[in-house]
Symmetry: C2
Subunit: 339 residues, 2 copies
């Protein structure tokens, strides 16, 4: 594939892109992809079928790229970062498989979810298998520090998902409550993915903290932008329909802001829609109107920019390098997805 | 509690009992129970609620006792075995939570399953949380060998559960196929539970293999006896109804033997019952008759005794001790549950 030029993408000037990160991690990502195929393999045929359905469904693989970059930027060569990047991707894939069961989702990225094809049972169990394989790869790397970071992330992610269940359909959820949820369910894995790089590269504690903070705040920005995209923007990129979160009664920041800023009547509307399940297309239209009136999307983007700035400052003390530049550009790329 | 005599149980002579193992591990099991409560805790209220529902539901806690005994019999003192025993129990609990979702079970040990009270979502996610906590405790112990054994077991268990899905309702399942399933889904955790004891006790490789083999074969015997109990015997002890496996279309060894030994007509009956879902009470009666005619239960018990003997011989070269005696008695206890 060397030398293939994709002229249209490159000709957009000044648009932040994930491409520098993709290019820098290209060789290592090929090793990750090999390892994914090998470790999702099993004599039990259903396992690679289900795993590959999701693995090949066109995610950006941002998380494993973070691990690769955050090790390579400190001069690490070897294979520990490849194994840990694969572990991170498996943890993410396992979470998606379980999420689809929990959310009763029919579609992910425009394709039928595994649970629609193979059933809830296979989704739960193949998720468990991938999680087990993730831990085996971490153990194989042999770094107790990396194991500590990633096993803690596994607990925190699950805890965040349960917290999300507890606040589900409760319109009194505050922005702080919501931040606790996304910090745990999304940002913790970004943080762990970025932190294990410096760990295997055996760099200093300050660099490790810098990458951890970068990952955490990038994860928050990423999730907030995802929430905005669900109410508009380039929904096709996500493979989901506008308003999926609304129809599922999911409370995200655009809704929280619009509810709190609304009149008593408007708050009744939100309660009926989100808590009462009155989420037909007409109500979605009304919800979109209220979100626009109260700046629900623009202010959620502003929050994302806030966390993006923290991520940027976290990396500031590190020496300049193509790696650092690529990681910084990813912050803008994540936020500009919505603009 | 020292000196408390339980006259009725002790007066039964020659009946194998789990009591010597319970007595020997009593002090350490109290530490395990404390750790269970502490590590199943979370600010997210639903987590301890769901976890404690299952944890307090009266299982025998055989697996953590195996870990404690298999460390203490080599003179180990400290707390690594307590943490690993708790990890093993959490892995088991997580499996049960996910199993109930996969099997759509309403009852476990005579109580409503967590999924009936809190929903499938909470069962999946709290299971994930307990698995994460299990790994954190293993990492805390810091033995990469123990981590290797237990993370491999986690993958194998999940693989076994998916294999069970694949063979589900297929009457052509052979005894060998079935053994592959229960070796993975049940016996692998017994084996890992018994193997990590000698690992933290830093004993020789031969002792480690002895305990692993003991655990594996004990686990096979245990599961086969469970399968027999489902078709009769002391079903109340299990908190399940006679014939639950039959009604769920589960293929277990009594069914496999009776199907293979039956006439063409009888095989048609089994296919309609198990593959076709005709599993009403009248058909259960007929199934029980066929199982009895073809020695399905007695020969499954004979298989359990076969694995019990292997477990016994695995421990034979180890020096005599109260610990060894207690572990040997547990083999008979598991098999005599059915007699």
């Amino acid at each position: 594939m060397l030398g293939v030029v994709i002229p249209l993408e490159d000709s957009k000037n000044k648009q932040a892109s994930v491409k520098p990160l993709v290019d820098l991690t290209k060789a290592d990502m090929e090793r990750v992809n090999q390892l994914i195929l090998s470790k999702a393999g099993s004599d039990v045929q259903m396992i690679p079928e289900v795993a590959n359905h999701l693995i090949s469904s066109g995610g950006k693989r941002l998380r494993p790229m973070l691990t690769l970059a955050s090790a390579a930027m400190f001069g690490f060569t070897g294979d520990a970062h490849v194994k840990l990047a694969t572990s991170v991707e498996f943890m993410h894939t396992a979470t998606l498989l379980h999420d689809d069961v929990v959310d009763e989702s029919d579609l992910r990225r425009g394709k039928s979810t595994a649970r629609m094809i193979w059933g809830n049972q296979a989704s739960v169990l193949v998720g468990d298998f991938l999680l087990g394989q993730a831990f085996r790869m971490m153990v194989d790397v042999g770094s107790l520090e990396a194991l500590d970071v990633l096993s803690t992330a596994a607990s925190v992610i699950a805890e965040g998902e349960v917290l999300q269940l507890s606040v589900a359909k409760n319109m009194e959820t505050t922005e702080d409550d919501y931040l606790s949820v996304i910090r745990a369910k999304t940002a913790a894995l970004f943080a762990a993915a970025a932190e294990v790089g410096p760990i295997v590269a055996k760099t200093d504690k300050a660099s490790r903290n810098a990458l951890k903070s970068y990952g955490m705040n990038l994860g928050l920005a990423f999730q907030l932008v995802d929430d905005v995209l669900d109410y508009g923007g380039k929904a096709a990129d996500l493979g989901k329909n506008v308003g999926d979160d609304f129809r599922e009664g999911k409370i995200t920041l655009p809704v929280i802001l619009s509810y709190r800023r609304g009149t008593a009547d408007e708050r009744s509307f939100w309660r009926e829609a989100i808590e009462g399940g009155k989420s037909d297309d007409q109500n979605l239209e009304k919800a979109l109107g209220l979100i626009t009136r109260y700046g629900g999307l623009s202010d959620t983007i502003a929050r994302a920019q806030h966390y993006g700035t923290i991520a940027r400052d976290a990396l500031a003390p590190l020496p300049e390098s193509p790696w650092k530049a690529a990681l910084l550009e990813v912050i803008d790329f994540c936020i500009e997805r919505v603009s």
